[in-house]
Amino acid sequence: MGKKESILKNNLRQYVMVIVFALVIVLFQVLTNGVLLKPLNVSNLISQNGYILILAIGMLLCILTGGNVDLSVGSVAGFVGAMSAIMMLKWGIPEVPTILISLAIGFAIGCWQGFWIAYVGVPAFIATLAGMLIFRGLTLVVLQGTSLAPLPAAYTFLASGFLPGIVDVGGYNLLAIILGVAVSVFYVLRELKNRENKRKYDFEVTPLKVFILQTIGILAVINAFVLTLASYKGIPMVLVIVIILVAIYSFVTMKTIPGRHIYAFGGNAKAAQLSGVNTKKVMFWVYANMGVLAALAGIIFTGRLNSATPKSGTNFELDAIAACFIGGASTSGGVGTVIGAMVGGLLMGVLNNGMSIMGVSIDWQQAIKGFVLLAAVAFDVYSKSKSK
């Protein structure tokens, strides 16, 4: 009994987050008379939030280093989007090179900010606040205050395209279903291996019944989700990008040396330094990486709007930051997961989407999101102080 309780206690935060997420979905499903989970809307939900999720991945790494945030990502996304539109429409550069150059611009911007933060020692808050102003300004400068549209189809494919379906089976997209099954199998195998390993070292494992229920639940969710998408147009490109990024970054943060260095740095900078972690390098690369992901988010957002506008990207940074904290990242660093940030981002996405369908005005939506953020972090602080 004692073991079970401690597992529950240790993972309380995650369980609560998932449960809240599920409740919010059920709530809006009822309130919107079933519109929320209609295939069209689920598909929309993903393309509406893809860029926030991408930003949240990079933002999580920044936050892990010690509660540092990057305030410039919205402006950088806007700037990179503007630059890519200019490259294609004014300079005649083809789509693929444009995308690559845009990512390179993002990387350069990330290095620029990383340099000031890591090597000069400007606090991240200030350096990225400066970046926010600089790149918003530059966006206006390069666009000369106007919008550029429409954009080539190959460019917007990333944002609004779908994976081709091979064949349609009774109105369902076959590739989507195959991928769904593949992911399910992979998930089960991985969980079994994890469990086996934990057993081997005599660590606490969740009781078999709970494990089976949990696995069945997750498989059901994955397949229901994929089936829903399959009955519409298939799997959106954005979803593919997000899943690939989540897989890569989850792996990097949990299983590699650079990942551990980030957590160690955030957990105790001095101790990490005295253990041979090059903290400056960690800081630099975290921000350089954020630059690339901000650029990618910019490309996707611009593609989705099918135009580059001077205002695009405004307030993205706040949504990304909120996603990380709702997803359980610690404000003092060293704690948080990529998956958590994704659930946080999706939770906000569902709130937005659900309220929009219900006709709640945008101003109320903002206020409600504010309350959710406050409640999530307050709960976190409260449960931590209680567990001590």
């Binding site: 390993n197 660590f203 040396i257 160690a264 957990g267 105790n268 005295l274 253990s275 041979g276």
Partner: protein, 512 residues
């Protein structure tokens, strides 16, 4: 019934799953110094937290009786109102504020309404500084004071609240011998000012010197109270009470062979990191042999930690010059990574704030220094990582629920074992141990010493920095004495004694 100024009767305090205090009785006579001793985890801090109201009335069983009156403190403010003040091991001073501002923080001296009267504040501070013999300017910022003086400021702060019972938790842990002596003399003097002191300390020589009565706690129970004059008060006697058996040797025997000269630092100079005009290390030369324990003794501020850290990947200091030789060959160390690569390890004096990542578990802390050994490319092999951690947990007997326990929840001794594990894992040839047993109880100390001996048997070179002279003398084969950034003496184990070490320091002070 004015026999006791304070009585704690049948105190029982349970935390989920543990009985931290089990029927503890603790009686203090007025105007005495009463020492509370016990191993780490014996319940000393818990008892003092019950007394000072950190754990409010109702969360424990039993009675607290102050001057014959049963008290039920709901918080610290209420215990302070009864004249009970506690000075914690980690000082609660604000470094950026001046002495006077710190003393009256939270107890501001006001003139009209809420407006602070600085005249009153200064005047009262000066008055009390005289009492404790602190001569600095009252506008000096606390961060510019040494640890010893900061401790005095804490005492002044307590005095300003009209304290009757002063509790000091490990007051001398971070002090050198001179400052400790001054502080203890001050405590003796406080009796005349009508103040009763409770002192928690691991330094038994100090306890035997100043305490009128000694209460020994073990596993949450009061074992005995020894009274000066009636009972035998010796360190051995107290240790027996603390651990429940007699420890014959405080330092385990060692069977090691000392080899050739292996690690040398020559003409080492360094300037302060912040103020690079301050010459901190001056022409330091040391030589260590394979399998040898070389002690570096000295007073607080002698530059020992600074020396160690500047050698260990230039973690301290500016304009560092000098050469490091290992096995006769010069090695160049630019950063911590180089240091680790060249087989150096450094365990910090402050394991909590710079030694460990307290929010991470044992496993993750141990692997941090040498990921290369358990990785393919940049990918960490978790199975190997677990094996390594399990191996150290059993070899160094780290008491924990599993290798997944957070290091922040371990006791001091076990935390230190994790620090040792992580550095032994990096497979060093030379280990610099900075205050390896600070704040650790007698039993755990012995275990740490055993680990040190095992390392020397494997031919490792140990540089041992400690403020506890008996430790340096008991463990080292050879002792360097450092004072004001210089090596001022070198003694073989056979000729080193408290007197000869102090003699070297005094001598150099006279010359300087």
């Amino acid at each position: 019934m004015e026999q006791y100024v304070l009585e704690m009767r049948n105190i029982i305090k349970t935390f989920p799953g543990v009985k931290a205090l089990d029927d503890v009785n603790f009686k203090i006579k007025p105007l005495q110094i009463h020492a509370l001793v016990g191993e780490n985890g014996a319940g000393k801090s818990t008892l003092m937290n019950v007394l000072s109201g950190v754990y409010p009335h109702g969360t424990y069983e039993g009675d607290i009786v102050v001057n014959g009156e049963i008290c039920a403190f709901k918080n610290i403010k209420e215990s302070e109102a009864k004249g009970i003040a506690i000075i914690h091991q980690e000082l609660a001073l604000i470094p950026q504020l001046s002495i006077a501002e710190n003393v009256f923080l939270g107890n501001e001296q006001t003139g009209i309404g809420p407006i602070i009267s600085w005249d009153k504040t200064r005047q009262k501070t000066i008055e009390m500084m005289k009492k404790v013999g602190l001569t600095d300017n009252i506008d000096t910022k606390v961060r510019d004071l040494g640890m010893g003086k900061q401790q005095l400021v804490e005492i002044i702060k307590a005095l300003s609240k009209d304290v009757k019972i002063l509790i000091l938790d490990e007051p001398t842990a971070a002090l050198n011998d001179d400052d400790s002596k001054h502080l203890l003399d001050l405590l003796l003097g406080l009796k005349e000012h009508g103040i009763t002191c409770i002192i928690i300390s691991h330094k038994l020589n100090e306890v035997t010197r100043v305490a009128d009565e000694i209460t020994v706690l073990r596993d949450g129970k009061t074992i005995e109270t020894l009274t000066k004059g009636t009972d035998e008060i010796t360190e051995a006697r107290i240790i027996k009470g603390m651990v429940g058996r007699e420890i014959v040797d405080r330092f385990p025997k060692r069977s090691h062979k000392i080899g050739d000269v292996y690690f040398e630092v020559k003409n080492w100079n360094a300037y302060d990191t912040i103020d690079d005009t301050k010459h901190v290390l001056k022409d330091v030369n040391i030589q260590c042999r394979k399998g040898e324990v070389v002690g570096i003794a000295g007073l607080m501020g002698a530059g020992r930690t600074e020396f160690a850290m500047s050698v260990f990947g230039k973690s301290y200091g500016k304009k560092i010059s000098g050469t490091i030789l290992k096995n006769g060959k010069e090695i160049h160390i630019k950063n911590v990574k180089d240091a680790i690569k060249n087989g150096l390890a450094y365990t910090t004096e402050d394991r909590k704030s710079v030694g460990l990542i307290l929010i991470d578990n044992i496993k993750r802390n141990i692997s941090l220094t040498a990921f290369d050994k358990i990785s393919k490319g940049i990918v960490i092999d978790e199975n190997k990582e677990i094996k390594v951690a399990e191996e150290f947990r059993s070899k160094l007997r780290i008491k924990s629920s599993s290798i997944l326990q957070k290091t922040g929840n371990l006791s001091g001794g076990n935390q230190q074992k994790v620090v040792f594990s992580k550095w032994i894992f990096s497979d060093p040839d030379v280990l610099i141990l900075d205050e390896p047993t600070r704040g650790i109880d007698v039993g755990a100390k012995y275990e740490i010493y055993t680990v040190i001996n095992e390392l020397t048997e494997k031919g490792k070179t140990i540089i041992l920095i400690s403020s506890e002279l008996p430790e340096v003398l008991g463990m080292s084969d050879r002792v360097y004495i450092m004072n004001e950034g210089r090596i001022v003496g070198e003694l073989a184990a056979s000729e080193a004694s408290q007197e000869s070490v102090m003699h070297c320091i005094m001598e150099s002070n006279r010359e300087g």
